[in-house]
């Protein structure tokens, strides 16, 4: 069967996730539509095969969490921790996303057409995140690897204690976090932003973005800093 529909108004979530973990992996469906998600938690978590899942409506916490290889689209909004710890594949939120979107994602691409809440991309470990709207405070906190493209504004303390992840912001940044700094955009950066915007299906001028990366001054303990950073 090429396409299949699950209606969470009548079918238990566990049935859907079991199908996605077992039958979809065995090739029994390439495309799964999920109706009436109604804010349920853990929809399409832990997928590890290249199935396409379309969630029609608003998803609850951790939708598409731990995703590997699958492509998950949410037509509405996503609750806390969408695509957290994603390994590969793609998660696309057409509405807004709540706090902790893409937290600690190791790979893959998270696209949020609307705004993202606080702590978007916290502890990012190699995934890419493209946000069409704005991100809340403390986004990319301690982000270690990967890239974030923010088409709107950012809240307070963007990129606090950043490691080697790189952030690109088009709008206003309320404040940078400790050890984050603006850096010049190189041709490589412009190409990277252009590629990510293209993958996200968003139309912005890549040259309009600013690059933020780590000063690396927190990499080594400074006994003279007196807790002032």
């Amino acid at each position: 069967m090429e396409r299949l529909t699950f209606d969470l108004a009548t079918q238990p979530l566990r049935e859907l996730n079991t199908f996605l973990h077992n039958d979809a992996k065995d090739g029994k469906a390439r495309h799964v539509t999920v109706l009436n998600p109604d804010g349920a938690h853990n929809i399409a978590v832990g997928l590890d095969c290249p199935v396409e899942v379309e969630i029609v409506g608003h998803a609850g916490y951790y939708a598409g969490g731990m995703n590997k290889a699958a492509s998950v689209t949410i037509t509405g909004s996503a609750g806390t921790g969408v695509a957290e710890n994603m390994m590969s594949g793609k998660v696309h939120v057409k509405g807004f996303a709540s706090n902790g979107a893409g937290a600690s994602a190791h790979g893959g691409l998270l696209v949020i057409d609307g705004d993202a809440g606080l702590r978007c991309g916290i502890s990012l470990k190699g995934g890419n995140i493209v946000v069409g709207g704005s991100v809340g405070s403390f986004s990319a906190f301690m982000a270690q690897a990967g890239r974030m493209v923010i088409c709107g504004d950012a809240g307070d303390a963007l990129g606090d204690s950043l490691y080697e992840a790189v952030l690109y912001v088009k709008g206003n940044v309320k404040s940078l976090g400790a050890d984050a700094q603006y850096e010049p955009m190189t041709d490589e950066d412009i190409a990277a932003v252009a590629s990510l915007l293209d993958q996200a299906g968003l139309d912005h001028d890549p040259k309009a973005f600013r690059r933020i990366a780590s000063k690396r001054s927190l990499y080594h303990w400074n006994a003279d800093a007196n807790q002032e950073y």
Binding site: G79, N99, L118, S137
Partner: protein, 302 residues
């Protein structure tokens, strides 16, 4: 954890359905708060000289068999004025046209185990231990009418699971507050308020926030000013939802540690900790759904 829900109907016809629309919202928050539940509902105000109090008898020896009619007769003969009474098991709403302090003092002297839940012109308040479904059934929440309400499902973290520590909390008249989160300075707030003659009934952190904000309102602050002072004085994690006779108000702490989502249509504004409590509402698929920002004030007029 804990779950909060709020509903304000804009279409007058929906006032009759307020409770019916809200019960699934409350039950939807069971996983966030399975140990107690409660709500405050605001309806048509009484005449200026009248007041009503919601009273809970669950802590008395007779519990739900409490002799409410006997109480109303005693009150009538003591006060010499008519006392209206509506009884739902361990809960009753008493209506009278004397100063509420007189009634409350008499109740405290003669029935010290009765717990006064709320006082005012417009507010009725229910709260008890049990799952949200059990509490909703106990008090026929689905039959409640009114313009707006504030509800809560509790998973206790800061104080014991008892009916008086369930939410909503009230202070003064026609003001209530529900809380998802935990405050880190409730005792400091208490130490500031108690010398001003403000009396606390429990050791619950939410009560400190409730009494602080009601104190500011009573001192003449408008709601927005009081909430601004709340941001300055209240430390910790919170999503607060508050009700007054003509308003619902929502604020979240600067870290937005506790969730909230709002759905608005031409007919209603609905607030919940999570969307799953809003999913059943009529016209939800076309509602404007958004997440309230931290440190912003959201105030809706009834």
């Amino acid at each position: 954890m804990c779950g909060i829900v709020g509903l304000l109907v804009k279409t007058p016809a929906l006032r009759e359905k307020l409770g019916e629309l809200m019960v699934p919202m409350l039950i939807g928050m069971t996983e966030r708060g399975p140990d107690s539940a409660g709500l405050a509902v605001f309806g048509n105000p009484l005449a200026e000289n009248q007041r009503k109090i919601s009273v809970y008898s669950g802590l008395t020896e007779d519990g739900a068999d409490f002799n409410w009619l006997g109480l109303s007769h005693e009150l009538k003969s003591h006060l010499g004025v008519p006392v209206g009474i509506e009884i739902k098991g361990n809960h009753a709403v008493l209506t009278f046209d004397v100063a509420p302090a007189i009634v409350k003092r008499w109740i405290a002297e003669h029935h010290p185990k009765l717990h006064i839940l709320s006082t005012g012109h417009s507010i009725d308040l229910y709260k008890d231990i049990g799952t949200p479904a059990e509490v909703a059934a106990r008090y026929d929440f689905s039959k409640l009418t009114g313009s707006h309400l504030v509800g809560h499902t509790r998973m206790a973290t800061e104080s014991a699971v008892t009916p008086d520590r369930a939410h909503p909390f009230t202070a003064g008249e026609d003001f209530c507050l529900v809380h998802n989160g935990s405050l880190s300075n409730p005792n400091g707030i208490r130490r500031m308020l108690e010398p001003r003659g403000i009396h606390f009934e429990t050791d619950n952190d939410t009560e400190a926030a409730c009494r602080f904000l009601e104190w500011r309102l009573r001192e003449g602050d408008d709601l927005e000013t009081a909430l601004q002072k709340g941001f300055e004085e209240l430390d910790g994690f919170f999503t607060f939802l508050m009700g007054t006779p003509d308003k619902l108000a929502l604020i979240r702490d600067p870290f937005a540690c506790k969730p909230a989502v709002v759905a608005e249509t031409d007919d209603y504004v609905a607030i919940a900790s999570e969307f799953r409590s809003l999913a059943h509402l009529p016209g939800i698929k076309h509602a404007t759904v958004f997440e309230p920002a931290p440190e912003e004030m959201y105030v809706w007029n009834a």
